[in-house]
């Protein structure tokens, strides 16, 4: 428990934690406010009405969540990779191991801290997203009456849990890549590479790509619910897993990633 509390303290004080969350919120705010500001012109264009759905409640709730989980998935992967890589490059894992700490326990506890912060960050980003969307709707002159439509809230907790599950999986993949590479940059780079490669490959090999980390996470909440189509992972997969199959696939990626991390760390020669 003391290790977990200490891990949270380390993550809380790290600039990357706040930078990741801040960047996600900033991008969301810019995009939503831009949509709000240009809504009247956009609405006259082909498919323009669809853009207005972004800022129309109650459907906007699911789309905000989609945005948070889509871009957030990429950010969490990069963030987790940065944290894991720095344990190797800074030599802090070495110091802990030399004090008799269990290697795998240390790394998995670190990841547990990341997973918890990812969940908190998701909630914070969602809350900010609602405020920003409300402002964007006002800016566009779109009715905000739907914001109090409570029918959506019944489904949201499950969506949140599924979304968080997807983030945890993506973070674990990034964490593992950085552990294997013992490098922050390699982990971050590989995470971004997987994201874009997966999106691109999805156009040609959809039946394979749908099982990969981003696409599987994307499928977790790919349900039309409460007036909006949400998608974690943010990819544009042409083929999707059904949400329940995605639960299993994501679970396999998560377990496999953490198992590889634990096994590699236990057996690695530590230097530096």
């Amino acid at each position: 428990m003391r290790l977990f509390v200490s891990t949270l303290g380390k993550l809380r004080n790290r600039l990357a934690t706040w930078l990741t969350l801040g960047l996600l919120i900033l991008l969301m705010a810019v995009i939503y406010l831009a949509v709000g500001a240009t809504a009247k012109e956009t609405a006259t264009r082909p498919n323009g009405a669809a853009a207005l759905l972004l800022i129309t409640f109650p459907g906007a709730y699911a789309l905000i969540l989609s945005f948070v989980l889509g871009l957030g998935g990429l950010f969490v992967m990069a963030y987790a990779a940065a944290i894991a890589g720095s344990e190797w490059t800074w030599g802090t894992l070495k110091t802990a191991v030399a004090r008799g700490e269990s290697r795998s326990r240390y790394m998995l506890t670190t990841y547990l801290g990341i997973a918890l912060l990812a969940g908190i960050g998701m909630l914070v980003a969602f809350a900010v997203g609602v405020v920003v969307t409300f402002l964007a709707a006002k800016l566009a002159g779109v009715s905000t009456d739907g914001i109090t439509d409570t029918s959506i809230f019944g489904n949201l907790p499950e969506q949140f849990l599924r979304g968080w599950y997807g983030l945890v999986e993506l973070g674990a993949v990034g964490f593992t890549i950085a552990t294997l590479a013992r490098s922050q940059l390699a982990g971050v780079g590989a995470g971004i590479g997987i994201y874009f490669a997966g999106t691109f490959a999805g156009l040609f090999l959809p039946d394979v790509v749908k099982y990969l980390p981003f696409a599987a996470a994307d499928s977790l909440i790919s349900v039309d619910s409460a007036g909006g189509s949400a998608s974690a992972g943010g990819g544009q997969s042409l083929a999707r897993l059904d949400p329940n199959t995605a639960l299993v696939v994501v679970g396999l990626w998560l377990i496999a990633s953490l198992a590889v991390t634990a096994l590699f760390t236990e057996r690695a020669e530590i230097s530096g």
């Binding site: 110091t95 191991v97 030399a98 004090r99 530590i270």
Partner: protein, 313 residues
């Protein structure tokens, strides 16, 4: 670097100086003793008991600073020690302040490590190694980056720790520092222990006499000394012959107890050879070079061999 049957006998309550040239296996030994790497074969004993995979709890009695000190640069020195205290050996909360005080960083404890000098990081690393009040302290180049005052303070601290019954094991390239600090030394070369024992005993046993004579008189000098029962050789020359022109002088090494230096001088004078210089005894540097030059570390193909001695001029 592969270690071959390295068997170190480190008595408790002493400062043990672990010496060796680059690539000799010092850091490998430190990593093995702290569980950072595991041996391909053989066994390790730590604090008198076997130490292998699954024995990480044995490190609860060990404090270590291996290679460079490692910290989170964005955290303060104090926060780093607190984070470290949360891993591995259970550590009382008050201990962080105690070790900060001990290494003289209490005033700077609130500052981020990224603002620390190399010497301050080294002191913080030593503080981290002391967190669990270890029975055995393993320090890799502990004087690295310390200023003279810091070195003196570190030396006092380590001597104090040894006087309280703790065992301090230091690896260092600073022979002068080790000779001042260590009670016992072990010298390693090419993965093997080549000498070990109390430093004073080793230096007196390995003592020698060096005499400076004209190059032209080397052969006569060697012959004059031979009746003493020793074979003198030219310092730094593999074949025992002087390397320089005939009118130069150089050192002859006479492997004889320092207390017999006068006999050497008398034998030379009797033969009409007058030494322009005479030194007796040994120092750690001479001993180190003598022992480690016989087993040079691996070097790149085609690189010139290391030059030791050979001071004809």
């Amino acid at each position: 670097m592969a270690l071959a049957g390295l068997d170190l006998s480190v008595p408790s309550g002493v400062v043990y100086g672990f010496l060796g040239p680059n690539g000799a296996g010092k850091t490998t030994t430190m990593r093995l003793l702290t569980g950072l790497i595991h041996p391909d074969g053989g066994t390790i004993e730590l604090l008198g008991r076997p130490f292998g995979r699954g024995d990480r709890h044995r490190l609860f009695d060990v404090g270590a600073l291996v290679e460079s000190p490692a910290f989170y640069p964005y955290l303060s020195g104090r926060a780093n020690l607190r984070a470290l205290a949360a891993s591995g050996a259970p550590t009382p909360k008050t201990r962080v302040e105690e070790v900060l005080e001990l290494v003289g960083l209490k005033e700077r404890g609130k500052d981020k490590v990224s603002t620390y000098s190399l010497g301050m990081k080294q002191r913080l690393g030593i503080a981290g190694a002391l967190l669990n009040d270890p029975k055995l302290l393993l320090l890799d180049e502990p004087a690295n980056g310390l200023d003279p005052a810091g070195i003196v303070a570190m030396r006092d601290t380590l001597r104090h720790l040894a006087s309280t019954g703790k065992t301090v094991f230091i690896s260092s390239h600073l022979l002068g520092e080790v000779s001042q600090l260590a009670d016992v030394i072990g010298i390693i070369a090419a993965g093997k222990l080549v000498r070990e024992g109390p430093i004073e005993t080793l230096l007196s046993a390995e003592g020698q006499v060096r005499v400076r004579v004209a190059a032209a008189e080397v052969e006569r000098a060697v012959a004059a000394i031979a009746p003493l029962g020793v074979a003198a050789r030219v310092d730094g020359s593999d074949d025992g012959r002087p390397a320089g022109p005939a009118n130069e002088t150089g050192w002859l090494v006479v492997p004889i107890e320092p207390s017999r230096a006068a006999e050497v001088n008398r034998a030379l004078a009797t033969a009409g050879i007058y030494a322009s210089g005479l030194e007796s005894g040994s120092d750690l540097e001479s001993l180190f070079l003598e022992l480690t030059s016989a087993a040079p570390p691996a070097q790149a193909a085609g690189a010139p061999p290391p030059v030791v001695g050979g001071n004809w001029q």
